[in-house]
Amino acid sequence: MLAISSDAFTYQERKDYFSKPQFGGWFGPVTPAGDLGRRVETNLGGGAFFRVTFPWPYLKFGVDSSYQKFKSKGVNELQFVPVYGNLLFQIPVEFPVRFQFKAGAGGGWLSVKPDNKNGWDPIFMGGFEVSFPAGRIVNIGLRIDYIYIYEGYLKGSKNGGHIINTGIQLYFNI
């Protein structure tokens, strides 16, 4: 009984730190995929995010933004700033590392060259994260996100955009 209760206590305490509001940043390779991948090339990108936990500790809500600039050997260039909200679901299994799935939607600012046009498009995303707690405040993580840029509602649109972001992240429990 004692063993069970002490186990439960430690569990509770670690959970508490991770359930605090969190903010942090990430950077890593950003890769255009599909048709977009034939126009522009992989580059380094990075971003910042903020998260709060729902009353149920395995569910978080986050806001994420980043800056991604894709160049090419020629004249093509795409700048992309996604701003989206997402729900993060943590696998409710006791592990030293935490696994989280996430899905969300929002808007993305795009600027394309050589046409020199820019504007906002709706985006959808899904992703997966692994986090290692490093003390009470710091978390270190790896993430992989897929972002779909939706343009199907625009006249003349032939394709959307697929982007895969991978990165390492550092964030803090505050």
Binding site: P55, V75, K117, G160
Partner: protein, 500 residues
């Protein structure tokens, strides 16, 4: 629940952003859409090219027009006509008015075209190139980075006691070997580039810079706008009926060998025997048109002639080459060129001999021959560039010595000015009048054009000349073109202007 107020607010903001994300244009589709279409043609004509007209091997016309005068050492008659033209482009760039280059076609592209009237390269259609769009603005010229240009039918001849022994020359195209010869390597320099101080920085084919003299910009470039659904940029390199056979000596083999190969005609920059380069002979022109704006020029003219349209008011003499200026004017009053007087180039007193290339093989006979050639080179050089008081018996033949860099520069500048080789441009619009006598110049951008017809049938391996007419009051020669004026026409979108 207090905690949830923040996310709710953020969700509302994001939904708002989602709602206002109403682009007019699908940006990602724009990134992919190609509105600038680049087309490569191998003809002098912009449409309706004349048929292939290569003379039969060893016919009198072949020896006169297809075989260059650089072929003199090897008299073997086993050469064949070329069948395939191959080009390897590493990329294309556009230069804007401030000299910035746009790598809009950073794609390696290779084309192999059969020398037939059906191949897109030679039937007036052209090959579309891979490229991206460029920003909407004005551009002055296009630069082709030509990695290779090859033609088949090249042979290497080895001298033996009982005659010349031919063997096929192989070269690499698209990472595979073919019985062909890359003559592009010899196009880097023109004959007098080698003797210039800055010769190491000269490259005439990488890139080959082609100015775009569109009527819309007053001849200063092209204007591209993404507002039009398509803009066609047409690049033409004169290949059709413009191929000649040249000769070069090998300097590395122990055996005495010469090479016969095919390359573009040396009509503009004459290639002489013993030349190691053939550069300055890639004649090219570029123009743009917007399909939704174009009209046509149609009419009748003598069958078998070229009809060209140039911007109204511009001088026809810019589209033709002045005839031999080193021959006395009295001689050239005859309307045909007197070949016996020598070529334009050989009469230039600064047409200095080329130093023979070092022999690197092991044959004593060939080494001795190299030394003899070297002695001969020194003799020829000293005739043109006398040193001290030494006088050669035949010095009286010369009226001008090429005894300083200044003279060298002046003489070649003078040559260029009088021959107009640096100023000559190809007409953007040209057609060949078929046997019906009715021609149509397609895809003409709106504007006023002067239409001309050639007063002679095209000659193989040659374009058009001016002829000396008379001396003006200041003793300057006055030339007339081989093109005769037909009519000034005005073209508007969708219309057909008729000539005459």
């Amino acid at each position: 629940m207090k905690l949830l107020k923040q996310p709710t607010a953020v969700i509302l903001v994001l939904l708002f952003a989602f709602a206002i994300s109403c682009n007019k244009d699908p940006l990602l589709t724009d990134l992919k859409t190609k509105k600038l279409i680049v087309v490569l043609k191998g003809t002098y004509e912009s449409n309706s090219p004349m048929e292939w007209n290569m003379p039969a091997v060893n016919s009198p016309e072949y020896l006169a027009n297809m075989q260059d005068d650089s072929v003199y050492e090897c008299n073997s008659t086993t050469d064949t006509l070329p069948n395939v033209f191959m080009v390897d482009l590493s990329e294309i760039r556009l230069w804007d008015t401030r000299g910035k280059s746009y790598k809009f076609a950073n794609y390696r592209q290779t084309f192999a075209s059969s020398l037939s009237d059906n191949d897109p390269m030679f039937n007036g259609t052209g090959y579309p190139l891979s490229n991206d769009d460029v920003p909407s603005k004005a551009y002055t010229s296009i630069a082709l980075y030509i990695r290779k240009m090859l033609l088949d039918g090249a042979r290497s001849y080895t001298a033996r006691d009982d005659g010349w022994y031919p063997s096929v020359v192989w070269d690499v195209f698209k990472e595979s070997e073919y019985p062909t010869f890359n003559f592009n390597a010899l196009q880097i320099h023109s004959y007098f580039d080698n003797l210039r101080l800055e010769s190491s920085s000269i490259n005439r084919v990488y890139p080959l810079v082609i100015p775009i003299n569109d009527l819309l910009t007053g001849g200063a470039g092209m204007f591209y706008s993404s507002k039009f659904s398509y803009t066609i940029l047409e690049i033409r390199i004169v290949v059709k009926n413009f191929i000649k056979k040249y000769e070069q000596k090998s300097t590395s083999s122990s055996e005495y060998t010469v090479k016969h190969f095919h390359a573009l005609s040396d009509w503009l920059n004459d290639v002489e025997k013993d030349d190691t380069v053939i550069g300055g002979n890639v004649l090219a022109v570029a123009r743009t048109y917007v399909p939704e704006l174009v009209g046509k020029i149609s009419g009748t003219a003598t069958a078998g002639r070229h009809v060209i349209a140039i911007p109204a008011g511009s001088s026809i003499l810019n589209y033709t080459l002045n005839v031999d200026p080193y021959i006395d004017h009295a001689v050239t009053t005859a309307s045909t060129r007197d070949e016996s007087m020598g070529t334009l180039r050989s009469l230039n007193p600064c047409n200095l001999p080329r130093k023979p290339t070092y022999y690197t093989g092991t044959s004593i006979y060939r080494a001795l021959e190299y030394y003899m050639k070297y002695e001969n080179y020194k003799y020829e050089w000293n005739k043109l560039v006398p040193q001290g008081t030494f006088v050669y018996p035949d010095f009286s033949e010369l009226t001008t010595y090429c005894d300083s860099y200044e003279t060298f520069k002046d003489q070649w500048n003078n040559y260029a000015k009088e021959t107009s080789i640096r100023n000559m441009v190809l007409p953007q619009l040209a057609v060949y009048v078929p046997s019906s006598g009715t021609f149509t110049i397609e895809n003409v951008m709106p504007g006023s054009y002067d239409v001309y017809v050639a007063n002679r049938a095209p000659e193989y391996g040659k374009l058009y000349y001016n002829h000396f007419d008379h001396l003006d009051a200041l003793n300057n020669p006055v030339y007339v073109s081989e093109f005769t004026f037909l009519k000034t026409v005005s073209v508007s979108p969708g219309s057909v202007a008729t000539v005459p």
